[in-house]
Every structure is written in C-alpha cells, then in structure tokens.
C-alpha cells in the first residue's frame, strides 16, 4: 500500500492529547464534530492548511497524556491520513492500531522533512519517499498484529471474526 500526501511539520516533542483535542470538546464524540477543533491549542492555522490525505510530522512521544481516542478521530476527521514521528506515547499508538490509523515511527523525520513537502509512504515496505526533496527514509515496519487488525477493519471486527 502506497499513500501520498503533504507534510505538516512540528519540531516538537510531547505533543499531547490536550493540544490535539482539548478536553472542553470531549462532550462530543463524533469524528466530524471533533475534526473542527483538531490541534486547536497547538496550531490555530492547522485547519486552514490541512487537506485530505495529509500527514503530521513530529518528534518524540507524540500523543502523550490522556487515553482519549478522540485524538485519533479529530486528526482523521480533519483529513490527516498518518502521523509520522520519532516515537509515540503508548495509548495513542495502541488507539491508532485499533483504529487502523497509521502511526509510523521514523527516526529524526522532523529534521528531514520540511513544511509542505510531498511524501509517499510505502506502508508494506517501510519506506517514505520525499518527492519534493528526492530523498528516501526507511521506517520500522508496522507490527504484524497491527497489519492483521488493519486488514480486518479494526479491533472490533477482528474479535467478531474470532
């Protein structure tokens, strides 16, 4: 599977779930409603720039803090197809796998990619092509179990089939 999109780069560690979707919006749980506030406390311009299929790029410990899956839904609802970071907080990563949402661990990606670069992610082969810079970066392939879940259409369908 190959997917193309544009990069929104944050030179930041520890982007937390309160920044991705502030708790004041947790009285809602629908993707389309949450999407209207994605990244609101981090980047007021995010929603103006983001286009369907784009990627968020960051440094270490992306998604730390709360267990709210709303963070995944807000990002996905806003159009984001994948987050590529040096590392992820545990619950965010788990929620991504369970939702079939791409959370890709790629070393020092935020130092390599510039805002607006066009990237092509080859999910199966663990490669990212930077089409704007004509560079390639390899990443840790997704765990087999994560791919199984994605193929099944998420955790609920997976256990239903079992």
């Amino acid at each position: 599977m190959k997917i193309k999109g544009f990069a929104h780069v944050y030179q930041r560690d520890d982007i937390n779930t309160d920044e991705i979707i502030p708790a004041r919006y947790l009285n809602m749980d629908k993707e389309k409603d949450l999407a209207l506030h994605a990244m609101e406390d981090l980047d007021k311009e995010f929603l103006k720039r983001v286009k369907r299929g784009d990627f968020v790029i960051a440094k270490d410990n992306f998604g730390c803090g709360s267990s709210r899956e709303h963070a995944i839904w807000a990002l996905r609802g806003s159009g984001i197809r994948a987050v590529i970071a040096n590392s992820f907080a545990r619950i965010f990563y788990r929620n991504a796998i369970n939702n079939g949402f791409l959370a890709i661990e790629c070393k020092d990606i935020a130092d390599k990619v510039s805002k607006g670069d066009e990237l092509e992610i080859d999910v199966s082969n663990g490669m990212i092509k930077n089409l704007s810079k004509n560079e390639e970066y390899s990443f840790t392939p997704l765990p087999e179990f994560a791919i199984e879940l994605m193929d099944a259409g998420g955790l609920i369908n997976y256990i239903k089939k079992k």
């Binding site: 309160d18 502030p22 947790l26 009285n27 749980d29």
Partner: protein, 423 residues
C-alpha cells in the same frame, strides 16, 4: 531461566501461561473494566454498529461517570443518560450515580472493587493508579473498551519493567506527590514509555496505601504502561476492610529481569513544584527565587483528592485565610471522602478559610468545569498534568504540587513552602 516480575506473573496467570517474556503479544483475561462518561459512549456505538448486544460479564464492569458530572451541559447530560440506560439494559449494577459519585480511580479501590493480582482496564490514562494494590492496571482507548466489554479479554504486549527503589525517611512537609514528581523529573515524560514501573523500597513501605496511589497514578506521566507496588500487610488490611473477594498475592521473583533499576534517597527530597507545561518540569521549592503569584489553588483529583490529602491541607489552612485575590477550590474525590471530611470538620476549616468545597468530580483538573482558568491566569494544583490549556485557556498556567504546597500557596497567594506551617 530467570524469574518473573510481579507484572509478568499477573499477566501470565491471565493468559493461561506458565512463563511470559517482555515483548510477547498476549491475550489477557480482564477482571475489571471501568467505564466513565467520556470514553464509554463511543464504545457503545462501536458495539451497536458491530451488532454485539451483550457484555461478557456485568459483574466485572463498573460504571462511574465522573469527568463532567454533575452534568455540566446538555451534551454531557445526554452522554451520561445513554450510559445509564446501557448499564441498566445489560444488568450492570455497579453504577455510581449522583449521591454515590466521585472520581473513578478514587472510587474503585475505596469501594473494594480492586484486589491484588487483578487485571484492570479503563478508558482513562490514570488507570495505572490501581497498581498501588499490587494489580496490573492500564489505560486504554474506547475501541479497547468495546472489545473487552464483548470478549472479556484484550491484547497486550508484555512490558519490560523498570524498578524504582526509594529508600530513606521523608522529611516533614514532603509527601508521596513530591516523590513521584522527583522521579518524573528524573526520567522525563517518556522515560518509561511502554514500560511497567515497579516502585519499591523502605520509603514506599512506610507510605499509607492511599499515598502509594498518588505514585502509581502518575506512572503515565513518565510514559509508563502501568505502575505497580507489591502488596504488603497494609495493602491486605486496606483490601480486607472493603471486600471479601478472594485473591492471591503476587510478588516479583528475586531473580526477575529488570530493564533498569533506579535508586533514590528519599531523605534528600524536598517539596517540588512542576512548572508549565510538563509534569517533568519539577523544581525544588528552595530553588524558586522569584514570587510566582497565583490566581487559583486547586485541591482534588484522582492524584490527590483523598481524605489524607484533605487532612494535610486542612491542618495547614486551619486558622488561616486564602489570600485576597486568590481563589481556592477543594474537591473531595468521592462521596465517602466528602462525608468523612465533613464529619472531621475539614470542610468547615476550608470554608472558614474562604476556600470553597465542591461536590466530587474530575472537574477543572482536565478543564471540564468547576474552576476553569481565564487567559493569563495561574493555578497551583494537586492534579497530574500541566499541559497547555489543561485547566482552561491555552494561555493559562498550571503548577503541580502536593496538597500541602497547594494549601500554603493559597494562604500566601503565591507559590509557597508548606514546611513553615508544619512546625
């Protein structure tokens, strides 16, 4: 073959294996699923969409709406109402509605739902609290909750364990909150990413079970998957006073494998304040040279809203007043704590000091309601996170500290050392 840690042993028992090793993917049976108001309705939606109209075992599900209760607006009222109806339909009797309400991680152990050796999950990152009773407890998302509600089990990657050995006597005015803020300052907010954090040593043994909960509660703030403390006599007394559930105590083997062992001398710890915007940003109170004026002091939450916390704060507040221009909000974590504090006259002490006492709720800890901060305001808080906008406006600030430091700061209207009030 080396031995196993307490965490590995509990997980092994719950997946029917003699031996498991870190990194292994397992399906573990779940003993308690706790559902609160924010993360449960999406799980109910998922189950309905998948056509699954059952739960695996209603007696193992505990429902505690706490984040936005008493309902803060129409949307939260609708959410809680939906959960209420869902629980009734599926025969879930462990439902803590208004009148028995409180912060989920304070209610679960208080009401005897947790015993040593259990596995507990909840759609809340501070689920790691329950490791204080020698159980494996971890926060998960709504999809996990839905899956576990249906199947009674869930996938886990067995975590590596880091041991935090804390020995020595705490000085007066220094509490378990200061211990965990010191550990997080040392490890960083991702220093224990994906790991089980096992806390041990004479200082931990000397702490009450409630004070231990403050430590395991904040394991997630170091990135941990879980925090755990081996059960001892105090744990067993605490548990037996609350439930007659059977359990067996699990301990780490002497030859268990640890990723790392970190040692701390607790006698050197001082009151710590974690500055914005990370819990790892702790400074010893002595190092704070400038006056940091505060608009609000907040005492409550799953971290520090228990009776011992209220007692310490009341001891400091007694005969004093909250500084003019500063607001103090006290939120007992559960209904039983509220009643006990009332009986002991603690609530009177707070009200006489011109603080206010709220009904139990997660409230302003996560910027929900009952004490939201305006632009530019500062709050010293006994809670667990000081991220951007955590308690209100993105340009407000949260400083994390122990209940004693919060109380002293409320009196002085600026961040203050509690030790002067304890002589």
């Amino acid at each position: 073959m080396s031995g196993m840690t307490i965490t590995e042993k509990i997980l092994a028992r719950h997946c029917g294996k003699e031996k498991i090793v870190p990194g292994e993917l397992i399906n573990a049976k779940i003993d308690i699923i706790m559902c609160h108001d924010i993360t449960t309705t999406p799980a109910i939606d998922m189950l309905e969409k998948a056509g699954i109209d059952r739960v695996f075992d209603p007696s193992k599900i505990v429902v505690i709406p706490d984040h936005f209760v008493p309902n803060k607006d129409i949307q939260s009222a609708e959410m809680v109402n939906r959960i209420r109806k869902w629980a009734k339909k599926h025969g879930i009797n462990n439902f803590y509605d208004i009148g028995r309400h409180g912060v989920c991680h304070a209610i679960l152990p208080e009401q005897g739902h947790i015993v040593p050796g259990m596995t507990i999950i909840a759609g809340d990152s501070h689920t790691c609290t329950h490791g204080a009773l020698g159980a494996f407890a971890t926060g998960v998302g709504s999809t996990d909750i839905a899956a576990a509600l249906a199947a009674g089990e869930l996938w886990f990657k067995v975590p590596e364990t880091i041991k935090f050995q804390v020995d020595g006597k705490l000085a007066s005015g220094v509490y378990s909150k200061d211990i965990i803020l010191a550990i997080i300052r040392d490890t960083g907010v991702d220093g224990a990413l994906y790991k089980a954090m096992e806390f041990t040593g004479s200082t931990i043994s000397d702490l009450s079970v409630e004070a231990r909960m403050t430590i395991t509660n904040m394991a997630i703030e170091a990135g941990g998957k879980s925090g755990i403390i081996e059960p001892d006599k105090k744990t067993e007394e605490y548990v037996k006073a609350r439930t007659d559930k059977e359990y067996s105590v699990v301990r780490s083997d002497k030859d268990a494998g640890y990723l790392d062992i970190k040692k701390y001398d607790a006698s050197k710890f001082e009151p710590i304040v974690a500055f914005p915007n990370l819990p790892s940003n702790g400074k010893n109170i002595n190092e704070i040279k400038e006056d940091i004026r505060i608009d609000q002091a907040y005492l409550g939450s799953c971290t520090n809203g228990r009776i011992e916390d209220l007692r310490i704060a009341a001891l400091i507040m007694k005969g004093n007043k909250v500084k003019k221009g500063t607001r103090m909000i006290v939120v007992p974590a559960t209904t039983d704590i509220w009643k006990q504090a009332n009986k002991e006259g603690l609530l009177d002490i707070f009200m006489e000091a011109e603080a206010t006492v709220s009904t139990p709720t997660c409230g302003a800890c996560l910027g929900g309601h009952m004490g939201i901060l305006a632009k530019g305001e500062r709050c010293i808080s006994s809670t667990n996170r000081n991220f951007v906008g955590r308690m209100g406006h993105p340009e407000s600030e949260v400083y994390l500290a122990s209940p004693a430091t919060v109380a002293a700061s409320a009196i002085e209207g600026k961040i203050a050392d509690p030790r002067g009030y304890l002589k």
